[in-house]
Symmetry: C2
Subunit: 160 residues, 2 copies
């Protein structure tokens, strides 16, 4: 790290969001901050229960806000500071958003120790599909391929 | 499957959304439908580029809509029909939402063949953190644990 002080400043903001979220009874103890070129872009705590949205983890929420702020679906050049190691959903979102570095504090095992499913979901993804607890059934691939063929031939498509 | 006709009807709805999304140039060739007790709850196509939201995959968007419709963050008793195997972000969202079965059509390899990163992200998650292309740095765990301790002791918390 070329500049530890800035890194600590941003992580401290993410941690402050995580603490405030519990003390104000808004949601889980998680906060995340998106930074571009050393400047704050957006931040959010976890809002799953207060917004009735199971996808509203801190990182996903911060990514959505940052994209709104920067008017793009591509956060190349951005980094994320998150108070806890991202779960598979948030890690996937970070990849799709093209965020370039993840700084995190608590681990998925720490999260498991206070009752969260992060590690369970990681363990599920490590298994082959047919060994997971969640049943998965494939059907109708031939019909569904139509949209993929259309996409391949579309001159209007916006890749992402 | 106890009732193949209903399953095919719902999957056909998901596929129709995926096709329409390309023909109307709204987003990627993906559609998803949430069903509870044999009844349609919500459906969405992929809206990443049209809404500037990299998390707005079909499944995540359908989950958000279904939660709004049912006024809950818990989709226990629901199943999802998705025109393509969920990516890690969407699979994580499906676990967090407590959806009970996944029906899918196209595969992550089919998605890769038309230029999408689903399989790449699955391959990344299969690697230990330090071998991934996306740098991950841990810092300040001691400070971040404060929120976890507060959560553990909170009488006001809503578990999820």
């Amino acid at each position: 790290m070329e500049n530890n002080t800035r890194h600590e400043e941003f992580m401290r903001m993410a941690i402050a969001l995580s603490v405030q979220n519990v003390t104000e009874s808004i949601g889980g103890p998680f906060g995340a901050i998106i930074v571009k070129d050393g400047e704050f872009v957006a931040g959010s705590a976890n809002k799953v229960t207060s917004s009735n949205d199971p996808t509203a983890h801190a990182e996903v929420s911060a990514i959505r806000l940052a994209c709104k702020e920067l008017n793009t679906f591509d956060l190349s050049g951005c980094v994320v500071y998150t108070s806890c190691e991202p779960c598979p959903m948030c890690l996937g979102a970070i990849y799709w958003a093209r965020i370039e570095t993840i700084y995190y504090a608590n681990t998925k095992v720490d999260a498991e120790n206070i009752g969260f499913s992060d590690k369970f979901i990681y363990d599920e993804l490590d298994k082959p599909m047919e060994k997971r607890t969640l049943p998965v059934v494939q059907m109708m691939r031939d019909e569904a391929m139509e949209a993929f063929k259309l996409w391949g031939n579309s001159a209007m498509r916006i890749d992402y």
